[in-house]
């Protein structure tokens, strides 16, 4: 399945390159360095997310992917107008995002938005974009409820927490062969629903569900309770700092089990402590630097030489989001004189009705803006891997489904 996907991707890239070359030769002789963006007009793509503050460690890599995507689209695609990026820094806070969304939709050149990055802010700004008819593609907001609002302009470029939770349960029981799993979470809006989905999917294989306070360092009470269940696996719904603490303190207390967590734990810092070696992280993201997909490896190299660091979690989705919008612009044949409303509608229709072969996956959306087919990847923490992880593969393939 993977091979055929690469082939299709390669073919489509080659075709694109040909088209670009042909058009470039015809219209912009001698101006190949800047590529597209011929007519002196600009099209704006907006983005909202945590560009500064505590959560910039999550938002930063996504924004880098988006910036790189715009740069590449201008260089390699043949667009009638130059793409520019309108960045709005919400610091990840849902109360800061709405006015920024207003600023974006009032911009007369705005064609689409790739963002917001987090679920809370996406829920807060969704109505603004929907009312203005601006397509918004989130590269990383994974709360399942977002697609239940009836927004036609909403598209999600990743799998949801619910899908992730189901696949995590499949991974633990079918790939690892675990049968007595303690499910823990950090009581957050992200961690708790994820853990609850895992627990309900596991059914009898879930020994118990334990909440912990992420602000505290000592989790001995929670881990003592886990130890009492004599489990063979622990799933943690939450973020990397707490998962690291569970790994350190759990192994110290003699919890010699398989540790599994979700995309919130997929940060390079995880592999810094030896206790994390061998633990599993599931993510609806294809980490290009350690991907088994060679196309993605090449992308990671190009990205690193251009940006200075390897693409982080959801950077590829950000990149794909931009490329998808750019492709819609190109296929629509718009130019600088096309009314902006027509372009916005055109992009929405193109994204909703077409299949796009992106770098990390095939994007095909259902009527709610969810991906029809999700790809959840399993990673093993490893000090050897470029980003602290080694990719084991797609959960569905590992489980032999």
């Amino acid at each position: 399945m993977k091979r055929s996907r690469s082939t299709v991707l390669m073919a489509s890239l080659a075709a694109l390159a040909l088209v670009a070359a042909a058009c470039g030769g015809g219209e912009e002789d001698g101006d190949t360095a800047t590529g597209g963006g011929g007519g002196g007009c600009t099209w704006e793509i907006g983005t909202i997310g945590a560009l500064s503050g505590d959560l910039a460690t999550v938002g930063g890599p996504i924004a880098e992917g988006i910036r790189y995507g715009v740069e590449q689209a201008n260089e390699q695609m043949d667009l009638a107008c130059e793409l520019t990026l309108n960045e709005q820094d919400s610091q990840g806070a849902e109360d800061q995002a709405p006015p920024l969304a207003q600023t974006l939709v009032q911009s007369e050149n705005l064609v689409a938005v790739v963002g917001p990055y987090f679920s809370g802010e996406t829920a807060a700004v969704g109505p603004t974009f929907e009312d203005a008819g601006v397509p918004f593609l989130t590269p990383s907001a994974t709360n399942p409820d977002l697609s239940t609002n009836g927004w036609t302009n909403f598209f999600r470029l990743v799998g949801t927490d619910a899908q992730q939770g189901e696949e995590a349960a499949t991974y633990m029981t079918e790939v690892e062969g675990l049968s007595n799993i303690v499910v823990m979470h950090d009581n957050s809006e992200y961690g708790k629903p994820l853990a609850d989905t895992v627990a309900s999917t596991l059914g009898d294989s879930a020994a118990t569900v334990i909440a912990l306070n992420p602000e505290e360092t000592d989790h001995s009470a929670e881990l003592s309770k886990a130890l009492n269940e004599d489990p063979d696996g622990i799933f943690f719904g939450g973020y990397q700092p707490e998962f690291s603490e569970i790994l350190k303190q759990g192994t110290e207390q003699g919890l010699d089990v398989v540790y599994v967590s979700g995309d919130g734990s997929k940060a390079p810092e995880l592999s810094q402590d030896p206790s994390a070696e061998g633990s599993i992280v599931l993510c609806p993201c294809d980490d290009p630097a350690v991907s088994t997909n060679e196309e993605a490896n090449q992308f990671a190299e190009d990205f690193e030489s251009a940006v200075g660091e390897p693409p982080g979690t959801y950077a590829t989705e950000g990149y794909d989001g931009i490329q998808l919008v750019a492709t819609a612009l190109q296929e629509g044949g718009y130019d600088g004189d096309t009314p902006i409303e027509e372009i916005r509608t055109g992009i929405q229709e193109y994204v909703a009705n077409n299949t796009y072969e992106g770098l990390s996956k095939t994007y095909e959306f259902d009527e709610t803006g969810e991906l029809g087919q999700v790809s959840i990847f399993a990673y093993q923490t490893s000090s050897e891997g470029a980003t602290g992880f080694e990719q084991l593969g797609l959960v569905s393939e590992l489980a032999g489904q």
């Binding site: 912990l212 309770k225 130890l227 009492n228 690291s244 350190k248």
Partner: protein, 312 residues
């Protein structure tokens, strides 16, 4: 309600160890309160400085991240105690000099001290959050001491780091008890605690005694930071926040101003916290622990032991 009696040994042992660490931090609150009737809320930051100093010295400058053993390990631990103690003790003295002494000179109201303490706590904590210091991310504690299972108490595994933490805490309490009750400096601290004006009239240098109190409390808080960082293998700008609140609670529970009360309060709090999760969810740990505090204070407003430094 189904109780996990099987989890009792682990909850008991981990609670005891945690309580000893709370107790060690609580000393800083209780000693300063005993002498100045001031709740030094900045003590959580002083505690964090102890852990940070080891992170810089051993982790960043000397890169001691590989496990060592024998004489090397023992001397590293000794140096670690000294450095973390001096870093925190020194910071505490500096804090007293810059933030509290000017207020004392001007005879400021007690509320002013409290605000200054809260302000100092935020100042130091967020100073360390800046990128040129610890930054927003968490760091691993230098791994010069390998973690290995050291002994098994009533069925609960205890690793060498935790054993070291408990032994150190016990030793430090014995030393401090001796220092406060049997030495000349200790007597001057008790004198100032009893009656600051009378002590001054009797020729006690109050400023020096206050500085000494801050130093001793800070010194022990620094070593607690070193041990806490090592036990949980973590150093971060906000390391002191929760332990600070818990230690302050322990000090009040045991009887603030009382050295032995700090020990008793710390251990009680650690045990109550962990054992409360025997029958109900771990998310009730804090509500139950603090309800116990309120109950104790209703029936014994001065805490369990209820006598200050001055009374001994």
């Amino acid at each position: 309600m189904d109780c996990n009696t099987g989890a009792f040994p682990n909850l008991f042992v981990t609670g005891l160890i945690l309580g000893m660490l709370y107790a060690l931090i609580a000393l800083g609150y209780t000693m300063v309160y005993g002498v100045l009737k001031l709740i030094n809320f900045a003590h959580d930051a002083i505690f964090m400085i102890g852990a940070a100093s080891i992170f810089y010295l051993f982790g960043v400058w000397f890169g001691l991240n590989e496990p060592t053993g024998g004489v090397v390990l023992v001397s590293l631990i000794a140096v670690g105690f000294l450095v973390s103690g001096l870093a925190s003790g020194g910071s505490a003295v500096l804090l007293e000099r810059l933030a509290y002494r000017p207020l004392r000179r001007r005879g400021a109201a007690r509320l002013s001290f409290l605000i200054a303490a809260v302000g100092a706590s935020f100042f130091i904590t967020y100073l360390f959050q800046q990128d040129f210091l610890l930054g927003t991310s968490e760091h691993n504690f230098p791994g010069f001491m390998a973690t290995e299972s050291a002994l098994t108490i009533i069925g609960a595994q205890v690793n060498n780091r935790r054993v070291l933490a408990v032994l150190t805490a016990v030793a430090l309490f014995l030393i401090l008890d001796f220092f406060v009750n049997k030495t000349r400096s200790g007597r001057s601290i008790r004198a100032v605690a009893q009656d600051i004006d009378a002590a001054r009239l009797m020729g006690v240098n109050v400023d020096r005694v206050v500085a000494l109190t801050f130093f001793v409390g800070g010194f022990f808080g620094g070593i607690a930071g070193f041990l806490y960082g090592m036990v949980f293998s973590k150093v971060a700008w906000n390391l002191g926040f929760f332990p600070g609140i818990k230690a302050f609670t322990a000090a009040v529970l045991g009887g603030i101003g009382n050295v032995r009360g700090a020990l008793l309060g710390g251990v009680t709090l650690g045990l109550v916290e962990n054992l409360s999760t025997l029958c109900i969810g771990a998310e009730w740990k804090n509500p139950i622990a603090f309800s116990v505090l309120v109950l104790v204070l209703i029936f014994r407003p001065t805490g369990i032991l209820g006598e200050g430094l001055s009374a001994r």
